[in-house]
Amino acid sequence: MHPIIEISRLSKTYASGFKALEAVDLDIRRGEIFALLGPNGAGKTTLISIVCGLVTPTSGQVTVGGHDIIRGYRAARSLIGLVPQELTTDAFETVLATVSFSRGLFGKSPDPTYIEKVLRDLSLWDKRHNKLLMLSGGMKRRVLIAKALSHEPRILFLDEPTAGVDVELRRDMWNLVRKLRDNGVTIILTTHYIEEAEEMADRIGVISQGRLILVEDKQTLMHKLGRKQLTLQLEAPLDRIPDGLAAHKLELAGDGHELVFTYETQGERTGILPLLQDLREAGIGFRDLQTTQSSLEDIFVSLVRNGR
């Protein structure tokens, strides 16, 4: 099927001369959940803003549902709902008024039943007559989502939807996203957290310094990135790895006081149990152990260093 969003050779240089995006190519498939991962300042918001018409691209082309975002902006934009990263709301409006406004703004005729459904789905119905300035940050986030959904978009952009959000709202949000996906809505979300992408996305794109470093199915990527390290603090230092443990791909660290074991979390077997068994047989004791997961930042660094 034709991609719902096609981005080709998209670049953005801000007036300051800063290159926020460089020749980004990306296709978003109809009905998928796509997670855009990247550290601060990578260009995630810039990319989204260009697709939504908030930032003027320097060069390149974007089509949404087959419509060019500049020449066919009406058709393109009416397909899109945007939940921005910043919590920006009209302080003096009520929840109901602001959500109904969004629907009208996007050219749809009023539909109180639908608005009620959106507000109920987001647990905002009881607060519909509250002024926005009286709402908590999490509630404002919900309002922004309700605004984005008010006009029944086919594509939903969520720019860091879970920044500063508690566990409950996060869970609600994921449920909502899944429900939307089941209704055929394409969802693009940005995040700093690989766990979040892991939980939700079908495909993941990694962006760093304005370049899209990789785009991959989640399964494939998770396999690549899902490495953990087990560090054992030894009772007695070793000067080399005993031959009996050679099969385990171990590394010595901390002047021989630590043994480091790298394993795949996604693998059928992690290999931890056989390792512990062999350690006992070799008579190597340890005082303590810890596991660490390579952070997203580490992964970016290694990705960038290894080229594309």
Binding site: L54, L82, T88, D90, F101
Partner: protein, 253 residues
């Protein structure tokens, strides 16, 4: 034309007005009443009639014009500056709506409010001096045209201003002086010849003169010139607004 979108913004803006009814309607009424007390009653009593019109009545069109200009500029500039400032404007900019439609909605709402305030001021004036409108249709046309033109100016100002000071300084330093020097309280013919010429560079002269003509049939410049100039200003501000949207000036990085 995307009517649902235009209606949404227009009604949103009108609703904002209703919420701030006190300062948006009563403040200008009180200010104007004070002008009448001071200029009309206290000073006006010592000033002879101008071209057959009592001084109190003579200043009515100028006063209404003064209110129209300041109201239009401040309403429209605030109407667009505030969402820009609070960043809620992202929604309007990402909506399937043309630049023209954005301008029509915001400027339309600001102009509507100005017309309402203008009519209320007129009614208030009626309490102080006997009102007489020779050409009511022309009067309404001028009222409408001025409101639209200067709401458009306010809109442009609101996009240009990147802080509250600029937003407030322009009306204070430009609009108010131009209005005071634009023949609101006197006839241009009372000035020495040199200043009469200088005054012709003041756009407000054409507005006040045309507006006064619709009341009393007396004018400083020909009515045709007044109308032409008003349309000219409208075209200038519209061109600036169009340029701003085209280049994304202070709206889209």
């Amino acid at each position: 034309m995307n009517l649902n979108s235009v209606r949404a913004i227009y009604l949103f803006e009108m609703h904002r007005t209703r919420r701030t009814l006190l300062q948006s309607i009563f403040a200008p009424v009180i200010t104007t009443s004070l002008y009448f007390v001071v200029f009309g009653a206290a000073i006006g009593a010592r000033i002879p009639e101008i071209e057959g019109v009592s001084y109190g009545a003579f200043i009515v069109p100028g006063l209404v014009m003064l209110t129209l200009l300041t109201q239009s500029v401040s309403n429209a500039s605030f109407g667009i500056f505030f969402p820009k400032f609070s960043r809620t404007i992202y929604e309007v900019l990402s909506a399937p709506i043309s630049h023209f439609e954005i301008v029509v909605s915001y400027v339309g709402a600001a102009a509507t409010k100005s017309v309402i305030v203008g009519l209320i001021i007129l009614a208030t004036a009626g309490l102080f001096v006997p009102l007489h409108v020779e050409h009511p249709l022309w009067m309404l046309l001028f009222l409408l045209l001025t409101s639209i033109t200067f709401s458009l100016f306010g809109f442009v100002l609101g996009i240009w201003a990147d802080n509250f000071e600029k937003l407030q300084l322009v009306p204070l330093l430009v609009i108010t002086p131009l209005t005071f020097l634009g023949g609101s309280f006197y006839s241009i013919s009372m000035l020495p010849p040199f200043w009469q010429t200088v005054t012709l560079f003041n756009p407000v002269v054409y507005l006040v003169s045309g507006f006064r003509w619709s009341f009393y049939g007396i004018a400083d410049v020909h009515i045709g010139v007044s109308i032409a100039m008003t349309f000219f200003f409208l075209a200038v501000f519209a061109a600036i607004a169009a340029w701003m949207f085209k280049t994304g000036y202070r709206l889209k990085p």
